[in-house]
């Protein structure tokens, strides 16, 4: 099984190219590394566009909203 960082290197660009995806990183679930995908809103089109897993790592989808710089 490839390392999670290699998997991220291979797939981050194509995941980020999906409209509505604003972030991709390494997460964790039940002690296992995951592909952590941040989306503006979890729409049906995003559900279909995102894979369930990548090279053996579960894809974890988190509704983050748009990420904005945070000054007042």
């Amino acid at each position: 099984m490839p390392s999670i960082s290699d998997v991220l290197k291979r797939h981050t660009d194509s995941l980020m190219a999906i409209p509505g995806v604003v972030g991709v990183g390494q997460g964790e679930h039940n002690g296992h590394p995951t592909v952590y995908v941040m989306v503006v809103r979890l729409t049906d089109s995003l559900r279909h566009a995102l894979p369930d897993s990548l090279e053996g790592y579960a894809v974890q989808i988190v509704t983050s909203g748009t990420i904005q710089a945070q000054p007042d």
Binding site: Q26, Y36, M38, P51, A58, I61, Q70, P71, D72
Partner: protein, 364 residues
């Protein structure tokens, strides 16, 4: 960004963060999905992120007209369901008649968010975050030397961010915060004054009281907007130990450690900042690539730290520049807070920040 426009856009920006949070709360999901036979669909590609310029222009042009209508609580930009930029009109309680479906060709989305009074900065009422910060209002004016975690801003804009840490280089001391707090998103010239509190928090608002300077902008890492990637949103202001201390206000973690730690998923962290005061959270993801919306455009950041709040938001608008440290007595610096979504906060890995600027944390 002109400071005059910045001033009028500020409450709206705060409002938009909440609006997206409210909407997303209906669909909030953290769901690792079981593998299935369905293959990934990566046929589309090429685009680095949505281009908000048309939506921002439409928002600015029509802001006054829209905002004066009854029931409208805010206007901003966001993404429609199909991922295209849209003008977002936030309403007190649902539908409002007579609003256009498009503004200058940009789709309009209505978001029933309720009124925003609760999230606008109010004197003497900090907090609303997940940690409870005691009775200190970090947006207020502090006696010199000022503590970490309080409101600061550039003299040439009516804005406020957070004083993250005091750092040292070659025997001199500096304020560490974000480029977009100290250096006006690349627009500033070295030598501009850094004020405490930031002008968003002065009375009357946006004024510059005598004696509010605590430093001068001395260095910043340029943010690349559009194509290209960034690792840090960081800047330094030259200061002195009589103007800036190296511990948080009462109720915070005190002095940060001189020694940094790399973020790991699940790590417990804390921060003290201008808006939500001192809050606690947990690292949700590392090595993250994130697209971040600024006033002047969208920027992509790589190798970022993603933090989720323990109870409520870990950060809100105005907390930019906060130092994120481990949630233990050591308070080892982990990241520099600079962006966020509804329940999500993004920080630059602190080692990348310190090496980009050539400084070390002035701590215990």
């Amino acid at each position: 960004m002109r400071s005059t426009r910045r001033a009028t856009a500020l409450p709206l920006r705060i409002a938009l963060v909440l609006a997206l949070g409210v909407v997303a709360a209906c669909t909030d999901t953290t769901s690792p999905r079981a593998p299935s036979a369905a293959g990934p669909d990566f046929a589309r590609g090429g685009q680095q992120g949505p281009d908000f310029r048309a939506a921002l222009a439409a928002r600015s042009k029509h802001e006054h007209d829209i905002m004066t209508r009854a029931g409208v609580e805010g206007i901003g930009v966001g993404l429609s369901d199909n991922g295209t930029p849209a003008v977002v009109i936030m309403t007190a309680n649902g539908a409002i008649g007579g609003l256009p479906a498009k503004l200058d060709g940009v789709p309009v989305i209505l978001m029933p968010t309720g009124p925003f009074l609760a999230v606008l900065p109010r004197k003497g009422k900090p907090g609303g975050g997940s940690g409870g910060g005691g009775s200190v209002d970090p947006s207020g004016t502090f006696a010199r030397p000022v503590p970490l975690g309080v409101s600061i801003g550039n003299e040439n804009e009516c804005a406020a961010g957070t004083l993250g840490a005091r750092v040292t280089k070659g025997g001199s001391v500096y304020i560490l915060s974000n480029n977009h707090v100290l250096a006006r998103q690349n627009a500033a010239s070295l030598g501009e004054q850094i004020l405490q509190p930031g002008r968003y928090d002065t009375s009357p608002q946006c004024s510059i009281p005598t004696g509010s300077s605590i430093g001068t902008l001395s260095q910043f890492v340029t943010i690349k907007f559009g194509s290209g990637t960034n690792t840090v949103d960081a800047a330094l202001a030259s200061t002195t130990t009589s103007l800036v201390g190296n511990a948080t206000f009462t109720g915070g973690y005190g002095q940060p450690n001189h020694t940094t730690r790399s973020a790991t998923v699940g790590m417990a962290v804390q921060k003290c900042g201008r808006t939500t005061s001192c809050t606690h959270g947990q690292v949700a993801a590392i090595n993250a690539t994130v697209t971040v919306q600024y006033d002047v455009g969208v920027a992509t950041f790589v190798n970022q730290v993603v933090v989720g709040g323990k109870r409520g938001a870990f950060s809100k608008a105005g907390d930019s520049g906060s130092l994120i440290v481990t949630d233990d007595v050591n308070a080892n610096p982990v990241a520099l807070l600079f962006a966020g979504g509804q329940t999500t906060t993004i920080g630059n890995p602190i080692d990348a920040v310190l090496s980009a600027l050539g400084v070390t944390i002035d701590g215990k």
